[in-house]
Symmetry: C2
Subunit: 345 residues, 2 copies
DNA sequence: ATGAAAGCGCTAACAA
DNA sequence: TTGTTAGCGCTTTCAT
């Protein structure tokens, strides 16, 4: 009943020094073939594996990345988490998950906890942290990347979709589709994604000679979104929008349900609906939602690259502020412009 | 620019010994109020926080729980993960995520990696591991709980829904609804959830005087499920099932889409559909799926309890094999039995 | 109640 | 290439 095999026990069995064992398990260390063989043999027999924590203590590298995430009910996040975890795993890192509710104090507390684990880096998914805390991370030399959140300031990196341009394109698309009463259902107003999407949407409408016909707030929450849809559409047919951009897909599904089943409207005949994210259910036939695709794989790849750059090069790596183009995914939930798709050239 | 504050620095500033500092941060250690105050003050000024890894080394408790999960696209898992992470966080533990694909070799490798982190426990979500590996965990004294997976053998704990009884109830419900041609679309046959649900379903049909009218395999995969539905229903009306139990909700959505949009069938008029899991989209009006609810919160609670029992009491804690009743959630995707709901008494 | 001292299992100089 | 030595930051006896 072997309990806990240490490098020392392996060393004894192999008849070498303990450091020899360490070197065998340290990529790029100098060991002779002969020693290596002896050590590997002894290690295999004993079932030895290096203790990552002990290694972390002395090397200062834990190979743990802390992930702060507020909720997993918007299916964009599970998707991102899966990709992130896989990407990091390939590089020998692992994700330590910290759930944090939206309130700022809580998040700061959670980040402190993360730091206690001596993580090599932190990814915050859709949560903001105080600049105070950002500084603590900076001085602890732990790189932070904000995923799907724009964050102002010097020392902070982030990766987002180009939410502004995404909103703008949606406006263009709806105007081209000859909608005349275009509305917006907002997400939680504290979120940069919400702000940027709305700003871009408004800018686009403006650019194409329209302005917002109606606006409600859905808070990135299903119940709020449903209520917002009800308030917006349960009115005289004349006062009813003929198109609505819902700030993310997750809310858009609730809105579509309310429109179709609550108010008996036809999509897209009576009203066009567009969303943002392109989470898997958007492609399900029951919704078939026209939306902007957040390219989770690219976003994660940039997040990981940024992290690695800082980890491998703590001093010289620059903070990155990355914005990734979101392609318009045209499906059936919004009336198409005439002559769609546009012919190139 | 403070870099890394150690207990020693705090001790010096507070004018006490390093062990005094340690004791202040060790619940239940004996320190005088006076020392504690001095230490806390110094710690606060320096921004000191104990290094969890160093603590883990000496105490042997990392307060990390390893989670192995194969995929996050069945939305039951993100839900469970969120609850698990929150539950553990409240007890001072955190979740280290390991993604593993379904193949056995891979999973064993992943579990080895987990062990390297000196985790205090392991949760496997819907993946099986070799009994070989189970033994390694046992001898490393790391408790393992299989979540949503039945596992045979002595040393292993698991928590599942009562999948057999769930399948049986679904059969009963469909028979009571006067369906005469009841079919089944299976999940991945390597999964105990699949096996138990099917066995229960067949047992139920048998019990109520019917047998399976048709069967296809969906592999817990959307594309397979869609193809299975097509193969099963794209036939003469007489040969077409009038009800189908799809082994989980995730596949059921694809099946419903195929039936409605691919084959122009009405649900539940032409065919009843029931699923298993009760993931959030099952409640969305567009699907409104009758299904068995997996009570994620209860399942997670039992998982955590089992883990804690073993961690706090390594020798005496017994392995637990827990099966949680899954209630039938009746919605609109299946024709109701006459006189529904049944009157009690 | 407190300090001194001994490690937890490992890596990283430094010599040899 | 290899062994020796010195810690990483902490908890935990053991004295006092």
């Amino acid at each position: 009943m072997a309990e806990k095999i240490t490098s020392l026990q392996v060393a004894e069995r192999a008849g070498v020094s303990q450091s020899a064992v360490s070197r065998v398990f340290t990529p790029g260390a100098s060991v002779s073939k002969k020693t290596e063989d002896k050590v590997r043999k002894a290690a295999a027999e004993l079932g030895y594996r290096p203790n990552v924590l002990a290694r972390a203590m002395v090397s200062g590298k834990s190979r743990i990345i802390g992930l702060v995430v507020a909720y997993l009910d918007n299916y964009f996040y599970p998707e991102a988490l899966e990709i992130l975890s896989n990407d990091l795993q390939e590089r020998g890192y692992h994700v330590l998950v910290f759930m944090a509710s939206q309130t700022a104090g809580n998040i700061d507390g959670v980040v402190e906890e993360i730091l206690d684990y001596q993580v090599d880096g932190i990814v915050t998914a859709s949560v903001a942290m105080s600049s105070d805390l950002s500084q603590r991370c900076a001085q602890a030399k732990v790189p932070v990347v904000h995923f799907n959140r724009f964050q102002d300031g010097d020392g902070v990196s982030f990766v987002t979709s180009d939410n502004f341009q995404g909103g703008r394109e949606l406006a263009q698309f709806l105007v081209a589709g000859e909608h005349k009463k275009i509305a917006y259902i907002a997400g939680w107003e504290g979120a940069s994604t919400q702000r940027d999407r709305e700003a871009g949407f408004r800018a686009g409408l403006d650019e194409f000679g329209q302005k917002l016909f109606a606006r409600e707030v859905g808070e990135f929450d299903v119940d709020h979104a449903r209520a917002a849809a009800h308030a917006m559409f349960n009115v005289d047919a004349n006062d009813r929008p003929d198109a609505v951009f819902v700030a993310n897909d997750y809310m858009a599904f609730a809105v579509m349900d309310e429109l179709r089943f609550g108010l008996d409207l036809k999509i897209p005949d009576d009203v066009s609906v567009v969303g943002f994210d392109d989470v898997p259910p958007a492609a399900w036939r029951a919704y078939d939602l026209t939306t902007m695709r957040q390219r989770a794989n690219l976003m994660v790849a940039e997040t990981v690259e940024t992290l690695m750059a800082h980890i491998e090069n703590p001093s010289s790596a620059k903070t990155r502020k990355i914005s990734i183009a979101a392609p318009l995914i045209v499906r059936g939930s919004a009336r198409l412009p005439k002559n769609w798709p546009p012919v190139k050239g």
